[in-house]
Amino acid sequence: MIALFYRDMRLAVRAGGGFGLGLAFFLLIAVLVPLGVGPEGTTLAKIAPGILWVGALLSCLLSLDRIFALDYEDGSLDLLLTAPMPLEGVVAIKAFAHWTVTGLPLTLAAPVLAILLNLPAEGFFWLVVSLALGTPALSVIGAFGAALTVGLKRGGLLLSLLVLPLYVPTLIFGAEVVKRGATGAETLTPLVLLAGITAGAAAFLPFASAAAIRINLR
């Protein structure tokens, strides 16, 4: 499992276009929104939690099809299917590797972009905490979407149509944590619900994803 994790990490970092792209996209969103909305600090501070969370969500979406598509094309997914490790474990590890190259950098870069969007200083801590708790769910749910569309030639657009509705609860609770944190309100309730969604998705969705891959490779 660890070998698979390292392999996925190496592929993501060395193949190019995956590792930095999501982060660059995140940066672009944080630059483009003020250009579109206007430079008033109060307006930006108000929409910053939502923009940062939507940005994280879209950057995550960008690299989802790479989770399984390349392995499907060169046949290594068939090998993984026959490997002694259960496919559910493979899916979970691949989702975790995806999180390490997209969700984790996003979480670490978010405070810098929060400065651009004029987020109040109290919100920074909650932004990092909510992204750290929420982005694993994005990767796990995304892996499910990628597993559903792995056999399709042009699955990219369909993938976003399937995955984005599934992101709704994570987005709502994640942005709510930052919004409340920025105004100094109590953040425990949405934070616990966010963590609950991540834990539930990580526990159950690999089974659904593995089932989808088995169907696709039949």
Partner: protein
């Protein structure tokens, strides 16, 4: 052929098990008989309910005659959710018992459910404009209906994207199950996110404050009409799907021989 069909029908009448419908031939036989009757009753119910509701009920003292859009809005909204539940049940049956009719019925219900969702959203907007002064508000109920629309779109898109029918049935069933969980989660997340303009349930059987009987009885007829309309449309579409399957099987056989 005809006598075989008769025998099948007898066998169906003798056993009366729900799973008898799983045989496409029996399904076609029974649904072919039932469909005209259901269609006629659905049309009668809708005509009667809508005419009764639109022309023979008093105007509301606050809402005037706009209240009468309830006869389209409420049944459509109910069926939009029930259609998804029916799809979920049919998907589970397909995954567990591999009955093709079940998968095809789930596929048939998708666009019908989407249409009901859009009707509910459109009539809601038309009702909301004079009452709340806005076509749209980010109210929890409205928002969760919009999210339901997205779930329907994804489900239908996945069906049409996959060529192999069994793979498509399997994958859409998995999506339907996972989607149901997330649709439910979204419903509560949206509740948490914003307080709403929309009134609470006014048709529950166990509540003190419900809609008045004058509106309630024609509404019941309309709901019955919508349920039957849904049933008729799903049966019709399932029959079409089965015929399309048979046709492609015939074509494939012709190419082989």
């Amino acid at each position: 052929m005809l006598s075989l069909a008769r025998q099948n029908e007898k066998a169906y009448l003798n056993t009366m098990s729900l799973w008898e419908y799983a045989n496409p031939q029996k399904f076609m036989l029974v649904s072919g008989r039932a469909l005209p009757a259901i269609t006629v009753v659905a049309a009668l119910c809708l005509l009667a309910g809508l005419i009764w509701g639109f022309f023979f009920t008093p105007d509301d003292y606050k809402q005037g005659s706009t209240v009468k859009i309830i006869y389209l809005h409420v049944p459509a909204a109910m069926m939009a959710i029930n259609a998804w539940v029916m799809m979920l049940v049919a998907s589970l049956i397909w995954l567990v018992r591999r009955h093709h009719v079940s998968a095809l019925a789930a596929r048939a219900a998708g666009p019908v459910g989407l249409t009901f969702t859009l009707i509910a959203l459109a009539t809601g907007a038309i009702w909301g404009q004079p009452m709340w002064g806005t076509w749209w508000a980010w109210d929890p109920r409205l928002t969760s209906f919009l999210i339901l629309t997205l779930f329907y779109l994804g489900y239908i898109a996945l069906w049409s994207a996959i060529e192999d029918p069994d793979t498509a049935a399997d994958l859409t069933s998995v999506l339907c199950i996972v989607g149901s969980v997330f649709a439910l989660l979204s419903r509560y997340a949206v509740n948490f996110w914003n307080q709403g303009l929309h009134q609470g349930a006014s048709l529950s059987l166990d509540k003190e404050e419900n809609v008045s009987d004058v509106y309630w009885f024609p509404l019941l007829v309309c709901i019955a009409g919508f349920v039957l309309l849904f049933l008729a449309l799903v049966l019709l579409r399932t029959r079409t799907e089965i015929r399309a399957r048979r046709l492609s099987a015939l074509l494939a056989r012709e190419r082989m021989g």
